[in-house]
Structures are given as C-alpha cells and as structure tokens.
C-alpha cells in the first residue's frame, strides 16, 4: 500500500512540471481546447490527413522510387517556353506546383482527389454537382487557366496565340540530366483574352 502511495505521490510531483497540469489548474477553457486539439491530432495522424493551419510535417520521409528519372511541365506561348526559374522563389514554386497539378488534372480527364472523393461518398447527382461547383475547377478552366498563367508572368497574350503544355521526362545519367522524352499535354488557341 505504501509503495502505491509513493508511486502516486511521485506521479503528482512530476505532474506539477507539466504544462497541461498548470492549464487545468489555472485556465480550464484553454485546457479543454488543448485536449481537443491533441485528440483531433491523434485522429488526423491515424487517418494520415493534413489539416488547415497545422500541417503535419512528413515531407520526404516516405520512400521514393528507386530510379533516376523525373519529369516536369512547361507552358509554351507561341512555341516559346514561359520561363519560371528566373522568377523569385515563391512565384517559381507556385508556377511549378500549379502547372504540374493542372497538367495532371487534364491527363486524368479532369478528375482530381475531390471529384473522386465526392463520386465515392455522394450518390445523389444533384447534391454532388452542388459540391463540385464549389470544390472543383469549373469546366471552362481548361481554356482560361493557361491564359491566366501567361498573364501571371506579365507576358502579353492575344486572340489567336498558341498555348501548349508539355511534359518533359529526364534521366540522370553520366552525371547530368538528359532529356528522354517530351509529351504534349494540351494545345489550344487563345479565343478570349
């Protein structure tokens, strides 16, 4: 019995050093929030989901493909690549990432995570359409987004200009990046500035 009492006392002593213990003693509302936050995080971690504002930092921890090939996308205006690497870092990062996702969206027949998720979860077509209107790109995006991208880079674009998006695949061999292949993702003529 004395042993148990001693253990309880030692635990209580240690608890005095805990942030959550002091929160419970002095700010019950914050304590409740902290507990809810921790619980939400446990759920998020178990479901392997990200959360707004509080992303889990699992970048580059997952195993990657064991080959030395990679690909990237580029938008061409009248046959000339719109350069992104001369831009400041944040703009380059935005251009690279959104161009990649737009190209993947086109390649996947205009389907993305959200369309797949809604198709699985919502059987009623009208309700699903209501969600898709807000959470997926509108149908005319296929024509408007490449023009927006060109304007984002402060390049003049006129009706009749040709816009193409290409995927370039590289192999790293002999200590250098070598272009293996290039595939046309989309080609269109600007119809509306």
């Amino acid at each position: 019995m004395d042993e148990i009492k001693k253990i309880i006392e030692s635990i209580c002593k240690k608890m005095h050093k805990l942030f959550l213990y002091h929160l419970f003693k002095e700010a019950k509302l914050f304590f409740l929030f902290a507990i809810l936050f921790i619980l939400a995080y446990v759920i998020v971690l178990r479901k392997q989901m990200d959360m707004l504002l509080f992303p889990i930092n699992s970048m580059f921890s997952m195993q990657t493909a064991r080959d030395f090939s990679t690909s990237t996308y580029a938008l061409k205006l009248n046959g000339k690549i719109v350069k992104i690497t001369d831009d400041p870092y944040l703009k380059k990062d935005f251009s690279e990432s959104s161009l990649q996702m737009f190209s993947k969206w086109i390649k996947a027949d205009r389907k993305d995570l959200m369309t797949g998720l809604l198709e699985r979860r919502i059987t009623d077509t009208n309700t699903r359409e209501k969600y898709l209107k807000k959470l997926a790109p509108l149908p005319n995006t296929i024509n408007t987004w490449p023009v927006w991208f060109v304007k984002f880079h402060h390049l003049p674009v006129r009706v009749g200009d040709g816009v193409e998006i290409w995927e370039y695949t590289f192999d790293v061999t002999e200590n250098t990046f070598k272009l293996r292949d290039s595939t046309l993702v989309i080609k269109q003529t600007v119809t509306n500035e």
Partner: protein, 277 residues
C-alpha cells in the same frame, strides 16, 4: 483595470521585433508576386486531404473575393496596414484578430490555388497569442504555440524514423532527383543545381546530410523539458531551413518569424512555478 499592466517594456520590444520579421516575410511574399490580387480570375483549384480548406471553399467566400479585383486589392493593402499597426500597438487584440482572419483567407486562397500543401504556416500561428487581451492568456498561448513548433519538428523526425527512410542508404539521393528539374529544363544552372547533381551521384554524402537533418529535427525534443536550449534550437531550425532551400529548393518564408519566437521564449511564455524553464 489595465489588462496589460504587468507587461515589461522589453517584452513589448520583443513583440515588435517578431512582428517586424513577420512584416518582412509578408513583403517577400508580396514582392514575389504572391498576393491575393495575383490570384484574381485564377479558376484552377485543387485540394489535398484537408477538410477545413474544403469547408472554407464550400462557403464560396474565396471564390467571391477572387471575382472582385478591388476586394483583392483591399485585402492585400489591409494585411500590410494592419501588420504595421500591430507593430506599433502589439497589445491591441482587435488589430491582431482582423489580421489573423485576413491572413487565414490569404493562406486558404494561396493553398487552394497552389494545388499543393504549403507547410510554412508559422505566420498564422505566430498571431494566436496576440488575439488575447490579458497578459496571462497571451503567455499561455505563446507556451502552447511553442510546444506546437517543437512538435512540428519532432513529428518530422518521427516520420523519418518510422518509415525507415533515415536508415536507407540511398533515400535522399533519390528524393532530390525531382527537386531542381525545372532549372535543368530551362538551363538555369547555378551552384545549387551542381550540388543537386553531386548529391544524386554521391549517396553516402546524401545519407550523411539526411541523418544530420533528422538529428536537427529531433533536437526539438529537448524543448519539451527545458527552455535553456531554445536559442540553439532556433539556430538549428534556421540552419535546417536554409539548408533545405540550398539542397531541396524549399524556402522557409512563412516560418522564420515563428522560429524566431524561440529567441524570446523565456520572455514570452507562461512560467508558473515548476514549469520547465
């Protein structure tokens, strides 16, 4: 009663330093061309698994903002003016609340159109303590965000250990292959692209760097027991992020001011008796 009667002038000065670093980060975003106005008329959105982001977009508010260019201008100007106002009056909670709401909107729009998770969300978390009026609440929330900052880095190390990638002899040299591809396509060569090629072809050195990065992240665990090493932890994290920019082309903009709070953690945080100092 004056709610901030016990705040020392040096603490207010420290608040101003942190908020000024935040202002520099926001200016880096804006001068890089990343602001609400730049996303006006951008119709492409794509989300990752992020229910809170979905909910905000489901209200239609981001779409409404982006359909009106003047509203976009207003938001960008308001963010800058409110941040300057908060530097001048760091104890004014309503300035902080309004600024936080606008920055959450900006972050939501940015992430939705970036079509990719942006991990540097420290510029939102840093404002949480400022939205409370009393000194004690401010300090409690600073303490809370400090723990979250530490958790963020420890979790990064945890995932590397759990997946076993840190024990893999050829993980990083494969992971970096895709990091600089646009630079190679556009033939924008630099010391960083040369180093990228060096890492790809030297897996032992790449593994050494990866283990080093994991140790830097894991060092955050010290902060759960004491605040004595917070200055070193801040330096470690800054080193980690700038090395990340050099090696992986991932810049830390949005996270720097948040990390810098560790330089002032004893001054900012809540310290009832017995809590680790």
């Amino acid at each position: 009663m004056n709610k901030n009667a016990y705040i020392e002038p040096l603490t207010i000065k420290a608040y101003r330093i942190i908020l000024s670093i935040l202002l520099v980060e926001v200016l880096i975003y804006f001068f890089s061309g990343i602001h609400t106005t730049a996303f006006a008329k951008n119709s492409f959105i794509a989300f990752e698994q992020d229910p809170l982001l979905w909910m905000i977009y489901f209200t239609g508010l981001p779409q409404f903002i982006l359909s009106n260019i003047y509203l976009c201008y207003f938001i960008d100007v308001a963010i800058l003016l409110l941040l300057i106002a908060l530097i001048l009056k760091p104890l004014h909670k309503w300035i902080a609340i309004t600024l936080l709401i606008l920055l959450i909107l900006f972050y939501t729009i940015f992430t939705g159109h970036l079509a990719h998770r942006n991990y540097q969300s420290g510029y939102l978390l840093i404002l949480l303590p400022f939205i409370f009026a009393t000194v004690k609440r401010k300090q409690i929330v600073f303490e809370f965000t400090r723990y979250f900052l530490l958790f963020f880095y420890v979790s990064a190390a945890y995932f590397k250990l759990k997946s076993g990638s840190v024990f893999s002899a050829d993980h990083l040299n494969h992971a970096v292959v895709k990091q600089f591809t646009p630079y190679f396509l556009e033939q924008s060569y630099s010391i960083r692209t040369n180093f990228n090629l060096y890492l790809i072809t030297h897996n032992q050195f790449a593994t050494f760097l990866y283990i080093g990065a994991t140790i830097l992240e894991l060092s955050a665990i010290l902060g759960f027991f004491t605040k004595r090493f917070d200055t070193y932890l801040a330096l470690f994290f800054l080193l980690f992020h700038f090395a990340n920019w050099f090696i992986m082309d991932i810049a830390p903009f949005g996270q720097i001011a948040f990390i810098c709070t560790l330089f002032f953690s004893k001054r900012f945080a809540w310290n009832p008796t017995n809590l680790p100092r």
